[in-house]
């Protein structure tokens, strides 16, 4: 991102060891033992894709929980996100096409 896309700048209060672009959550060495949520964004045929991921995850010993947005092209409602927050440690969201 270039600075011109922003209108306001803040001075960094940190030691500046992280990139300007906010980094994603730090990944653990392994997600073994975590419960994984599959979030269906409600696009057609996405369920086939997620079903297959479900199979692969289950085969690999993960506990899988399924979630779905009420319809695509909306931000997931708070209630849905809270539900995921209380039940899973990992979310795979798909399939955007």
């Amino acid at each position: 991102m270039t600075e011109t896309s922003a209108e306001v700048f803040l001075l960094d209060p940190t030691a500046e060891s992280s990139p300007v672009m906010m980094p994603r959550l730090k990944r653990p060495a392994s997600i073994e033992g975590m419960t994984i949520g599959l979030l269906d964004i409600a696009k057609q045929r996405g369920d086939v894709f997620l079903d297959r991921l479900d199979e692969r995850l289950t085969t690999n010993g993960f506990k899988v929980e399924r979630f779905a947005k009420p319809r695509f092209s909306i931000v997931a409602p708070d209630a849905l996100k809270q539900e995921m927050q209380s039940r899973v440690q990992v979310v795979i969201e798909g399939l955007a096409d």
Partner: protein, 73 residues
Amino acid sequence: MHDIKDLESRGILAVGVATTEFVQAAAVQNGFLGYDPAVVFVQHPIQDRTDDEIRALADIAFDEIMAKLQDKP
């Protein structure tokens, strides 16, 4: 991408899966969000594929998804 960012702000490791059609759009939106979410891209298109073809795409994506959730030494 909003969802991925929000879920990670809640402490949930999140990865999005999108087709290659979204490579450009995702980059632009990330600029607006100031955030670089984990995204795995699969080959467009999806809608006209057979179930087996989609499952094959999922198998291809699976390892990359796992790689984007873990920081294996």
